[in-house]
């Protein structure tokens, strides 16, 4: 199967649509070049080592400098990036990547398959998602432009995993691959090269003059595509205080910001100097139960909780109105989107809840909601949920910790809590099997007794990851989602919209999961 041809066609179609509509089909060019684009981001950058950090803040910056063999397009489908073509053997036991010609690293060295081998070697040692390479027997470089992966066992979703932007296997020069975790030198092949990183202050990058763009597409397409650096430099400023981000955008000190607070959006939407760029479906707001601790070990009680919840009220409060109701773990438009389990969602049926509580023998046992205030939307969702459950006669208590402590409690203990509040962002947007991975063994985020997973759930999971046909995998996804919702192994509340914003003189900025600073320019 020649995946490349298939995906490039898809890529080109979406690139065309994005670039110029039905009229012109020409490659992007900057209306004007030059200037320093200042983008204010909300979270601190820990490290720019893209192999060993899965945070959004790292990705926001690093993915403008690094590239990988394959990545995801605008609709999150796999597309080649540094690969010219990808050939999968008919038995799925070998993948051959031909590399794009003329690609150079920021240090001026031409990229070869030897660098790809070294990058994979490093990833296998320290990469956060190194588990994706478990089914691989070995990789090798038969010549300078060819990279071959040989599998121990065929895995239909291997290229999906390989193209994941979560913690991608970015290709770096061999001489940098001995770096310890978190200490990789920021030398990639992207259109932007590293200038400086002052922790807690800013990261500055500049246009890489030696960049070889991917001419197969017309403009940027997801994380890949035809990228052009229009600005001379880009400064990613770390501005954790939302009020300061808004103020900087209003004064023009920042040309773009991420995560504009909802309250500021209503004020700024009439400001002709500012353009809001909403990015819907940023993550699924969710709570996962603990089946090992009463009363959530009782299915009837869990179903009662599910029946009582008014998702609109929860999401409205948690996001200040920036949300969409959303059934399950995929968004409409994604390949695996399904309404399976729809009847369980947003029931807001107090009578049914009370009846189920009675049937389940609920005697006023304490229900503990484990949440945190680092992510205020998680805290608020828990707060509203607790009030809704009190209204049907439940004895609810909030346990508020900071984020690391709440994660540790959820992961390491099955005592003293009933629902854990979180958000599924990257995994949900990656699609495929990823959004349900947390519910599969050994993760079992619903904390079954003895960590013994729900057998039916695992049957669906195995079909989801092992079926060769896409349709079979989609069907398995629908069955698994239905099972999760039916057994109340998760409570997805809805999807959160994140709003980016730019000054009005910033042209061609399109909201995406990272702030893409290529193919963006200053007007006037």
């Amino acid at each position: 199967m020649r995946l490349t041809h298939y995906n490039i066609v898809l890529g080109t179609v979406s690139a065309l649509a994005l670039a110029a509509g039905p009229v012109a089909a020409q490659q992007f060019s900057c209306g004007k070049t030059g200037g320093n684009f200042v983008f204010a981001q909300e979270a601190k950058v820990n490290s720019l080592d893209q192999h060993t950090s899965s945070t959004i803040s790292t990705r926001n910056v690093a993915m403008n400098m690094f590239e990988s063999l394959m990545t995801r397009d605008e609709n999150m489908s796999p597309i080649p990036e540094l690969a010219q073509e990808v050939v999968e053997a008919p038995d799925g036991m070998m993948y051959t990547f031909k590399l794009r010609q003329g690609v150079k690293f920021h240090n001026g060295k031409p990229m070869t398959s030897d660098d790809v081998v070294a990058s994979f070697d490093r990833y296998k040692k320290v990469g956060i998602l190194k588990g994706m390479l478990d089914p691989v027997e070995k990789w090798e470089a038969p010549d300078a432009q060819t990279f071959v992966i040989k599998m121990k066992q065929a895995q239909p979703t291997f290229l999906e995993n390989l193209s994941s932007f979560s913690v991608p296997i970015v290709i770096v020069p061999r001489e940098n691959t001995d770096a310890a975790a978190m200490q990789l030198k920021t030398v990639g092949t992207g259109p932007w090269e590293f200038v400086e990183f002052i922790a807690d202050s800013h990261v500055r990058v500049k246009r890489y003059a030696g960049y070889t763009p991917d001419r197969r597409m017309l403009t940027t397409n997801g994380f890949g595509g035809y990228k052009v650096a229009c600005f001379d430099t880009v400064t990613f400023r770390i501005v954790t205080e939302p009020g300061a981000r808004v103020a900087g955008l209003e004064t023009g000190e920042f040309h773009g910001v991420e995560d504009l607070p909802a309250k500021a959006q209503s004020r700024l939407k009439d400001n002709k100097n500012i353009v809001l760029k909403p990015l819907s479906n940023f993550w699924v707001q969710i709570a996962t139960p603990n089946l090992s601790f009463p009363p959530t070990d009782n299915l009837k009680v869990r179903q009662a909780i599910q029946a009582a919840l008014d998702m609109e009220e929860i999401m409205e409060a948690a996001t200040d109105g920036a949300y969409r109701l959303n059934i399950g773990f995929q968004y409409p438009g994604q390949a695996f989107y399904t309404e399976a389990g729809k009847e369980t969602y947003n029931q807001k049926n107090k009578d049914k809840a009370k009846k189920l509580l009675a049937e389940g023998g609920y005697k006023g046992e304490k229900l503990i909601l484990l949440t945190n205030q680092d992510y205020t939307n998680m805290y608020t969702a828990a707060l509203v949920m607790s009030e809704q459950l009190k209204a049907v006669g439940m004895n609810v208590e909030l346990m508020v910790m900071d984020w690391p402590a709440s994660v540790q409690k959820q992961q390491n203990t099955t005592d003293g809590w009933n629902f854990f509040f979180t958000g599924y962002g990257t995994n949900t947007s990656l699609g495929g099997a990823e959004p349900l991975r947390f519910h599969s063994h050994p993760f079992n985020t619903y904390k079954p007794k003895g960590n013994v997973p729900d057998a039916e759930l695992m049957t669906h999971w195995n079909a989801l990851v092992d079926s060769k046909s896409l349709d079979d995998r989609k069907a398995a996804f629908a069955r698994m989602q239905a099972r999760v919702l039916d057994q109340v192994l998760a409570l997805p509340f809805g999807s959160l919209t994140k709003v980016q914003a730019v000054r009005a003189n910033v042209e061609d900025f399109k909201p995406f999961r990272i702030p893409r600073v290529s193919n963006v320019w200053f007007k006037g």
Binding site: S47, D49, I128, G131, A181, S201, V239, E241, W403, P442
Partner: protein, 317 residues
């Protein structure tokens, strides 16, 4: 005096060891680890395990502790888990930022706080006293993050005089430093001005009731000499203690103010290290801060001797 200073420095060693033991122990007792921050909400338990492995957090407590003290004995405070650079380097590069803003803030505090306190005492119960004390009350009452945001709205958004945040080192551009440091320094200073003004006022009122002041006035000395030479110098004894405390607060930085103004200072470094469970950074950073505060205390003690000739430390002679 020299012997006293050396003795104080030696005495500070057990204090530093105690600080390191407490910070190491407390951080290990606090639930949560940096892996959850690096991984983010979407990280799977397996991903978190890989991160922990990469950071060496999978090693037993005693091994981690042994490594920390073995490094410390060689002057190595370890490497920040999240910044990937030596703790000493990460802290030292932040100290000039916090120090310059602390000094700026201290100058404002001394000029305004002392002036308000003295003027209020000299005009006891008059309008100047009332005005100065209302100003001091506002200073101690306003939350500094709120004040910071109000300053941004006024001076950045409406007037456009100052940038909303960031930091320019004074070596790079003094004007740039002044523009970026003024709002953080004012936000930090206002609380301290209020405290200093109130303490200066009460101390000054106490001193003005002393016999030696009455004597100085009876001798016919001009009022400015009575106040400037006899009263003020005696006011400074308790005030220096307060100034020492205020400067130590300013020097260790303010997580809130540094976050509001996006200033990469020590407060923000240590604050985020705590929030992100960057153990070596917390341990090493606290040690350095504790050491600098001990030095500051020694300096304050030396200043006592300057302002009060009765205070002498060389009892051995």
């Amino acid at each position: 005096m020299g012997r006293y200073i050396v003795a104080r420095l030696i005495q500070s060693i057990p204090v530093l060891i105690l600080v390191s033991v407490i910070s190491f122990g407390i951080m290990k007792l606090v639930p949560g680890d940096p892996a959850t921050l690096i991984g983010g909400p979407s990280a799977t338990p397996a991903e978190l395990d890989v991160i922990r492995q990469n950071l060496g957090l999978d090693q037993p407590f005693h091994v981690q502790m042994w490594k920390f003290y073995a490094g410390l004995a060689q002057g190595d405070l370890g490497t920040s888990l999240l910044l990937g650079k030596p703790v000493l380097e990460a802290t030292i590069e932040r100290i000039p930022v916090s120090l310059s803003i602390a000094l700026y803030s201290m100058v404002l505090t001394l000029l305004i706080g002392l002036a308000c306190g003295v003027v209020a005492a000299l005009n006891r119960n008059g309008w100047a006293d009332q005005g100065a004390m209302i100003f001091a009350l506002i200073g101690v009452s306003l939350p500094n993050f709120w004040l910071g945001l109000m300053l941004i709205i006024l001076f950045s958004v409406h007037l456009g005089w100052l940038p909303t945040g960031g930091y320019v080192p004074w070596q790079e551009s003094f004007y740039g430093w002044l523009r970026t440091s003024t709002m953080p320094a004012v936000s930090l200073a206002l609380l301290q001005i209020g405290l200093l003004a109130r303490i200066t006022r009460s101390t000054m009122l106490e001193v003005l009731r002393q016999d030696y002041i009455r004597t100085a006035r009876a001798k016919g000395l001009p009022e400015f000499v009575v106040i400037g030479k006899h009263a003020f110098k005696n006011v400074m004894i308790p005030v220096i203690t307060v100034i020492g405390i205020i400067f130590s607060v300013l020097l260790s930085g303010s997580l809130v103010i540094e976050s509001v103004f996006s200033v990469p200072g020590v407060g923000s470094l240590l604050g985020s290290a705590v929030l992100r469970r960057d153990y070596p950074m917390i341990q090493g950073g606290l040690l350095l801060v504790a050491w600098s505060l001990l030095l500051l205390n020694i300096l304050v003690d030396v200043l006592y001797a300057y302002f009060d000739p009765r205070v002498r430390y060389d009892h051995g002679r």
